[in-house]
Structure formats: C-alpha cells, structure tokens
Amino acid sequence: SKAAGKLTTGLTGLAVNSTPHISLTALYDRTLKLLARMPADAKYRQSTEAIVKERLAAVNSEPDISRLEKRINCGQIEEVVQQAERELQLARNFLAWKPWEPLIGQAPPNQWKWPL
C-alpha cells in the first residue's frame, strides 16, 4: 500500500501516515467528546466544535488523501493529524483550567501605561 501513497512528507521527523482517515476520525471524535463537557456558551467550545466538525465532514466524505489535503487546505495530512493531536491536548488542559470563567484579576491602574 506504500506504493499507492506518498513516499515521504518532506518534513524531518514527520513520518508518512498510511491510514490518516482512521487517525483523524479517532482524534476528532475524542475531541468532540471532551468539548461536550465544556459549558455550551463557551466561545472556545463553539468555535472548536465548528472547526472539528467541518474537518470531520471533509474526512468522512473524501477518501482520496491528496484531494482531502487540498480540501482542508492546511498543509499535508500528517500535519493535519499533528494539529488534531494538539487540539485534543488543548481541550484536555482547558477542562482543567476553565478559561471561559470571568477575568481573575485586572492589572494595577498604570501597569500597562507607556510612555510613563
């Protein structure tokens, strides 16, 4: 099956993924499950769900890898997998940090004033 796909990504340290559809659907499904645990009015949840659902739809409807890369338009499919992994990690961390809560503290009055 390697003969059918590409030989290399051209990027050091990034190996070719021969089954990107499987990796991507798994990552996106897990991300969506994590996002569902966030409050529905959180901006991060709304926008990330929009992005992830759009990409998942593209992955599910496009079996050809190079056409899928062009449709997602965000680099090679291996890079798209990297982005999905990062987003999943971020969603995990956000569940702990809860950044949608209101501001924890303002800066003192002249902290950001420049020139003095």
Binding site: C74, N93, P99, P108, Q111
Partner: protein
C-alpha cells in the same frame, strides 16, 4: 459574532504556506507600490492592486497595512473571547503587531492556546524578554514573542511580576523557553517555577546581582584584571580612570510631547514609602 471561516480565510493572506502556486506567490508577496508589475516576472496577466499603486505615498513613512491589521485585530478579539479568565486586553499596536496582555496566572493557558489551537498554531517561540520599569508596582514586564509559520503571523504575550513573585515556566509548552527563561532569571531575577534547570547563563560563576535591572550601574560593581604579581585574574571594586559623566541633554524646546509627564510618573507608585 466572529465568523471563523472569515478569520481562517483572512489569515491565509500574504505569504501563507498553503498557497502553493507560483502565480499566487507573485501577486500576494509583491510590494504594494512596486514599479515592477508582477506580469513582467511571471508572464501572465496578474491582478495588480491598482488603488495602492496610484495613491501618493511618502516613501519614508511606514503606513499601517489593513491587510495585516484586520486579521490580527480579529484574532486578538477571538482570543479574548476564548480566554476571558486571563486575557486583560488584546490590541494591535501602531506598527501592526498583535499584543495580548494577560494576568500572570494565565501564562500556561494562553501560550498553550496560541500554540495548540487550530486558528492559532503559533508553534515557534521566538523570544522571551523582560522590561524593567522600577516605578511600577509590578516592575518586571515579561514578554513572549511568538510566530505562526502556518499563517505567517506574529503575536506578543505580555505579563507582569515583581522581584519576589514567581511566574510559571512554559518549558512544558515550548522547549525553546528553557534558555530564554534562564536568561531572564540571570539578568532580571524573575523566578520561574517548574523550570527543569534554572541557573545563570550569561554572568560569571560567582556573580552577584541582576545586571539588566535599572538600579544596577552601567559599569557594575567589580572589575576583573590580570595581576602580574599573583599571575592570575583578580576581582576588585571598579575604579574608573575618569569620573562618570552624566549628560543633561536638555533643550529649551519640547521634543517629546508624549513624555511630558514622564518625570513626574517615574516616582515609585504603589509602595508609598519613598515620598
């Protein structure tokens, strides 16, 4: 409500890595007022940005470019809506640079968001530096400079701290932060918790003090010289051959209207014991 597609499309403007065709590269990266039409280079008819070429622009003035400014503003606003807990403000400076001002508790969340989120992808930490403004209550302003290779975009994250309050180290997010944070510690004295190896990096081994602080003298406290009798380098208190000269640089004309109140405001705020 910000249309995400709008952000993602806007952010794949000039220089985006996703534009692979040479044709697009010619149009998008050509300088605004170039006399050389892109079609002379590539040979095909290219859409020239006529409105910019016919405007009278002064060559010595750096004009603000809305094509860079608008996407940055939109992204700053979007980041502020995603992390309202930590982001105090997100503005674009007069030089078209995005600056995100955050609460010190939010270093890890904000940097992780900028690095890991699909719309950010600021994977490269270009620099961590520090600014010492002694008159402020939190005198040190730590600045993180980030670069997104995917969207050809830079962002700056600024926090504040004082001599005794530590900041969270971002080595778990960016490996490059290791030496940068060591430098900030060595030069300013800002401590970073959870840093794998926080020790001096630029000063000499037994050196005391933090040289880049504003209250550290320009010539330092000690000088090194080779002593011929002892046949080694000796450390002695610094002795200048000439008195240190401090020039006034004052003119009868006002040169910087924005700095009119600077001298008054440089008195220490917050502590109140120096009045």
């Amino acid at each position: 409500m910000i249309n995400l597609k709008h952000i993602l499309k806007l952010r794949s403007l000039p220089g985006a890595t996703s534009c692979t065709s040479a044709f697009l590269k010619e149009t998008l990266t050509a300088p605004a007022c170039s006399r050389i039409n892109a079609s002379m280079i590539s040979g095909f008819p290219t859409p020239v940005r006529r409105e910019l070429c016919t405007e009278k622009k002064m060559p010595t003035v750096r004009y603000s470019d809305p094509a860079i400014r608008e996407p940055l503003k939109a992204f700053g606003k979007y980041a502020g809506e995603c992390l309202p807990k930590y982001i105090q403000s997100a503005d674009v400076t007069i030089f078209d640079e995005l600056e995100i001002l955050i609460h010190p508790e939010g270093v890890l969340p904000v940097l992780s968001f900028l690095k890991d989120h699909h719309a950010g992808q600021f994977v490269n930490l270009s620099d961590i530096c520090c600014v010492d403004v002694p008159s402020r209550q939190f005198r040190f302003e730590v600045v993180y400079n980030l670069l997104s290779l995917r969207y050809n975009c830079r962002a700056r994250v600024k926090t504040y701290t004082d001599e005794l309050t530590p900041l969270e180290s971002c080595c778990s997010v960016f490996q490059a932060a290791n030496w940068y944070e060591r430098e900030v510690w060595d030069m300013f004295g800002v401590y970073f918790t959870n840093h794998p190896d926080l020790r001096r990096i630029l000063t000499d081994y037994g050196f005391q003090g933090h040289p880049f602080r504003k209250d550290f003298p320009l010539v330092g406290y000690n000088e090194y010289r080779y002593d011929d009798e002892q046949k080694r380098v000796v450390i002695e208190p610094v002795e200048l051959a000439q008195d240190f000269r401090k020039f006034e640089y004052s003119t009868p004309w006002e040169v910087f209207p924005n700095y009119r109140d600077a001298d008054k405001n440089m008195r220490k705020e917050g502590a109140g014991d120096e009045k």
